[in-house]
């Protein structure tokens, strides 16, 4: 699953640590999601999208999906 967390983070001038703190996860989790090593739960995915005030499809995309 691809994501644009890094882009949104840059737009909001946020560090991984700050975003992790806001979402209640560890910085390693944010790093792993950004690198595509870990797919977040649906709950965390919604939290991320809601935090950046965008729809979940704008943050996450599934390869091959229309």
């Amino acid at each position: 699953m691809k994501n644009r967390i890094k882009v949104f983070r840059a737009m909001h001038d946020l560090t991984q640590d700050a975003l992790a703190h806001e979402l209640g996860v560890t910085r390693q989790t944010i790093l792993a999601i950004e690198k595509g090593k870990y797919d977040p739960s649906l709950e965390l995915a919604f939290k991320i999208a809601r935090y950046f005030n965008v729809s979940i499809e704008e943050v996450f995309s599934y390869p091959g999906a229309p």
């Binding site: 209640g24 996860v25 560890t26 910085r27 090593k37 977040p40």
Partner: protein
């Protein structure tokens, strides 16, 4: 202190306790293992309080679950195998049909081996028959099983590192550079 360091410390302390237990049995010092066990638990408690990376999130829970399950599967196989060996020693291996044992080499079962001297309960005999080879080997198997229990800590740490790596623990990171 990191969690993995704590588990390694727990494994080392456990193995040392097995060694002390062996010394206690060997030299008949019951208080030694009692005291050392309590000291070991206290040490682990103090070490547990010093764990720094105790923050739990969904990814760390997943890593713990996967590592725990993998350790359990390996543990089950190894413990089952050693238990089979222990049962063979304790109960006596049946002679193979093509290798019949002579009557005087009949394996001694555990019930026989711990039977006290004397013909009945009224006989004033406080001495117990010294354990035979089978019982001693069963005891040694107990040491092996105890050691395996604590070696599993190292295996658990190994699986934790493996799954943490799989889920991006040590990816290159511009914020750390």
């Amino acid at each position: 202190m990191k969690q993995n360091t704590f588990y390694i410390l727990a494994g080392i302390i456990g193995l040392l306790e097995v060694g002390v237990f062996w010394i206690s049995v060997r030299f008949l010092i019951p208080y030694l293992i009692t005291i050392v066990f309590i000291v070991g638990v206290l040490l682990l408690y103090l070490a547990w309080r010093k764990i720094a990376d105790r923050q739990v999130d969904e990814r760390s829970v997943l890593i713990n679950q996967k590592a725990g399950m993998a350790t359990f599967m390996v543990f089950w196989v190894i413990f089952f195998a050693t238990s089979l060996g222990g049962a063979v020693i304790g109960l006596g291996a049946p002679p193979l049909p093509h290798f019949p044992r002579p009557p005087d080499e009949r394996p001694v079962g555990i019930n026989e081996s711990i039977k006290p001297f004397g013909d009945g309960p009224g006989i004033p005999n406080e001495s117990i028959r010294p354990p035979d080879d089978g019982l001693i080997r069963l005891g040694h198997f107990g040491y092996l099983q105890l050691a395996l229990l604590f070696l599993m800590f190292f295996l658990y740490v190994g699986f934790r590192i493996y799954f943490a790596r799989k889920y991006g623990e040590w990816e290159s990171d511009e914020e750390q550079d």
